[in-house]
């Protein structure tokens, strides 16, 4: 069975500091990995994805994520956080044997002044 884990329910960071939101995966085969962001009372917005190729993936709003096969991780990062980045972040994955996207439980990012 495939699974995606987000070990932190909430991450707090000061504006201007770098941020990391963690995600690990457990799948068979080569994974397709995604990050989505959700603002209050809104749908999920696609940020970035890893399919193959470079382990460092760049996405929307200055976010990037690093695929690490040996650690089975796909952490979301941003060099300098903004208050407007405060939202709920979901990691998701799929593999060649899965029929649906598996979401992590979500991490709430709180960026303060």
């Amino acid at each position: 069975a495939q699974s995606v884990a987000q070990p932190e329910d909430q991450v707090n960071v000061a504006e201007g500091n770098p941020l990391t939101v963690k995600c690990t995966y457990s799948v068979s085969g080569n994974p397709y990995l995604f990050w989505y962001v959700q603002y209050p009372n809104r749908g999920l917005q696609f940020l970035l994805k890893y399919i193959t190729g470079d382990n460092l993936v760049k996405g929307s709003y200055g976010f990037e994520a690093e695929f690490n096969k040996s650690q089975t991780s796909f952490h979301l990062k941003k060099p300098s956080a903004l208050v407007s980045d405060s939202a709920l972040y979901f990691c998701a994955g799929a593999t060649g044997t899965a029929s649906k996207l598996t979401f992590g439980t979500g991490t709430r990012l709180q960026v303060t002044l």
Partner: protein, 115 residues
Amino acid sequence: DAMVIQNPRYQVTQFGKPVTLSCSQTLNHNVMYWYQQKSSQAPKLLFHYYDKDFNNEADTPDNFQSRRPNTSFCFLDIRSPGLGDAAMYLCATSRDPPPSSYEQYFGPGTRLTVT
């Protein structure tokens, strides 16, 4: 702009009174999904359509039905809503179904309240 539209954004229904939520897309995607999301939890897939092929998740209650009359529209019918069905309902689309490298595009959601 190509997008996924959900109407209404907020829906209030009475316990046991049938309700229909709608979703439309201008992306011309093959796949349309319905998710249920409660209290900032992970979205839970209810079912999806790949073109006209309906794919129901094993744990989706029979109370939930769906229709896709054409490529652009998809409906979620809740035949007899219970208090436990109060949630945000998210519609999403993608070019191909998982396993796929294609991301899903989500609508803004419909928040359903059951009184």
